[in-house]
């Protein structure tokens, strides 16, 4: 019998703890497949964040290092500087990367650190129970913004990809989502490109993935995908924000 589908060797057999319909799992799969296809699993160190993906260090089938909340880019910097021939990635949520760890990600990009960041933007703090994130949409409800995010009080969501794309040290920055099979294929392509550019030593690479949190959005998994497409995509446009290979080709 021909095998038409099997689980990536990039994932361990540990059962994922993510809620039903959460797209964290899809992104794990894409990263794992990429590492497997590039044949770098034995040479990779991943950095897990604090957030719903804190247990990522149990899921990826490569050496892993768990960081403090927001500090993954600094930890990854330490690892990559010591092991420049290895593949290093961070996997971070929006609270981790765009609130408590903003300084670390900006300066890792500025230094052109040669690791890849997978940035899960679900517009909420998932792990701690649905509090407002810096990426929460104006009007979107959160447990610390019960009437919805008020622009006067909290400003409007921060667009990290656009911001980091202004930094010379960034080699590749793209925002994708995983709401449809077509989007998943695009997301996979983006993740693979980021890792390839890391291997080529081009600089800092980040793929922002618009991701669902049905649990804290108070939606079913299917509603959550629709909500993401209808509300998050307009606020966080998909696309490539920086690609030095395109610039080099010019």
């Amino acid at each position: 019998m021909a095998i038409v589908y099997q689980k990536s060797k990039g994932l361990t057999d540990v059962e994922l703890h993510y809620c039903p319909g959460c797209t964290h799992g899809i992104v794990h799969k894409l990263v794992a497949e990429t590492l497997e296809e590039l044949d770098v699993l034995g040479n990779t160190i991943g950095v897990a964040p604090v957030g719903c993906s804190v247990f990522a260090y149990k899921y990826f089938n490569c050496d892993m290092h768990e960081a403090a909340h927001g500090r993954a880019p600094a930890v990854a910097t330490g690892i990559k500087r010591v092991l420049p021939e290895h593949i290093v990635f961070t996997y971070q949520g929006d609270g981790d990367l765009a609130a408590i760890g903003t300084a670390e990600i900006v300066h890792a990009a500025m230094r052109g650190e040669k690791f890849t960041t997978i940035f899960i933007n679900n517009a909420i703090y998932g792990m701690t129970g649905g509090q407002m994130a810096p990426t929460t949409l104006v009007g979107q409800r959160a447990t610390t913004a019960p009437l919805g995010r008020d622009r006067e009080h909290y400003g409007s969501p921060i667009r990290m990809s656009e911001m980091l794309a202004t930094i010379d040290g960034a080699a590749y920055i793209e925002r994708v989502t995983v709401t449809t099979p077509a989007n998943i294929i695009k997301a996979k392509r983006a993740i693979k490109k980021a890792f390839q550019l890391q291997i080529a030593g081009k600089g800092f690479t980040m793929i922002e993935v618009l991701s669902t949190c049905p649990t804290n959005w108070g939606l079913t998994p299917v509603e959550a995908l629709e909500w993401l497409n209808n509300n998050m995509v307009p606020a966080f446009p998909l696309g490539v924000f920086r690609d030095i290979t395109a610039e080099e080709a010019k």
Binding site: Y57, C62, M64, H65, R71, G78, I79, V82, E104
Partner: protein, 355 residues
């Protein structure tokens, strides 16, 4: 070997390189900035890594990553920066990774002053970050001792897989003293392998994970108890101290770092007045040499114990624990950047003796 004149901060950096350290992350702050400056020039010459980070928070987390990847790594800072490193130190302790952290202390609290102080004794010895953890803390009193202890610091960090801190007041960082390089330089290639480091599975071994998360309360309890057993071993095996003229002394000064030198000067002044005073100097302030201090204080000859500190009285808590009430303990010191004079110390000693 001939003696050379070295500035404290530069000697710290050179000693670390000679101890096989090939990785330094830090952020400028007075009075320790000569350490990153020296590292930036000399680390590349030995194929090492120097990186000025965006903050002390980032620096300690770079240390965390580099240590996990197997490097012999250090960071340094001064008091406000050490406050920022506490989160990372707590993680490094829990994840059981080696690192050396130097604190060239300045006056606090807050922004304080850039002048020398010992205001971070509590922070260093009580665990300035969250959770049940300890770090080994050396408190050298001169630049030669800084240099001599550096290799030990890295070795103990590796042996116990935990941070070793070296704390000194800003005076030691800023002054110049003769230094003799007694130990041969360490070649990092010759260091024992670190089988726990995350350096890739190579497709051979199971994936390793460095982490400090123990979500199950039983696992968390076991983890803490295991760490504590290690700390108990260190308390039994790693205490260091020095005594000077404490035998049959009438008065014992207890002091670490620069005040120990002041206390010796005061002891000499007291001798001229016919009072025999000795100095007990802890070299490790954690683990604290409680028993040795008790032995010294409990001698029949001793009438009073006086701690001399450049703060408002922090180590005195440990001195009281050590002395166990067998003799009166009093304090003399200056805080926030002022250094006590030998005369002030002499006056405090006489008052403690009721003279």
């Amino acid at each position: 070997m001939a003696k050379e004149l070295w500035k404290g901060n530069e000697a710290i950096a050179e000693a670390a390189i000679r101890a096989g350290c090939r990785c330094y992350f830090g952020y400028p702050i007075t009075p320790q900035s000569e350490i990153p400056e020296y590292m930036s020039l000399h680390m590349p010459k030995v194929g090492g890594i120097f990186l000025q980070s965006e903050s002390e928070v980032a620096a300690i987390n770079m240390v965390y990553g580099a240590s996990g990847a197997g490097a012999r790594v250090m960071t340094s800072s001064s008091s406000p920066g050490i406050s920022l490193k506490q989160e990372g130190i707590s993680y490094i302790c829990s994840a059981e990774l080696p690192a050396v952290i130097v604190n060239v202390m300045r006056g606090g609290p807050g922004l304080g002053t850039i002048q020398p102080s010992q205001g971070d004794y509590f922070q260093a010895t009580r665990g300035g970050g969250h959770g049940d953890y300890r770090v080994i803390v050396f408190a050298p009193a001169n630049i030669q001792e800084v240099v001599d202890l550096m290799q030990d610091s890295f070795e103990l960090a590796d042996k116990y897989r935990m941070p070793v801190m070296m704390i000194m007041d800003g005076m030691i960082g800023q002054m110049m003293e003769p230094v003799e390089w007694k130990k041969p330089p360490v070649n990092p290639e010759d260091l024992p392998a670190k089988p726990w480091a995350t350096t890739g599975t190579k497709g051979i071994h199971e994936p390793k994970a460095i982490h400090s998360l123990f979500i199950d309360p039983n696992e968390s309890n076991d983890h803490n108890m295991r760490l504590d057993a290690k700390y108990q071993r260190i308390m039994a095996d790693e205490q260091r101290y020095e005594t000077s003229e404490t035998e049959d002394a009438e008065l014992i000064f207890v002091a670490f770092g620069t005040p120990a030198r002041l206390a010796r000067a005061a002891a000499r002044l007291l001798e001229e007045e016919g009072i025999k005073a000795g100095v007990f100097r802890p070299i490790t302030i954690w683990p604290y040499p409680y028993d040795a201090l008790y032995q010294a204080a409990a001698q029949d000859s001793v009438k009073a114990v006086v701690t001399v500190e450049m703060n408002t009285g922090q180590m005195i808590d440990d001195v009281r624990i050590a002395v166990r009430g067998c003799k009166p303990v009093s304090f003399v010191g200056q805080a926030g950047g002022r250094v006590p004079t030998p005369q002030e110390v002499v006056a405090a000693a006489k008052s403690a003796l009721g003279r």
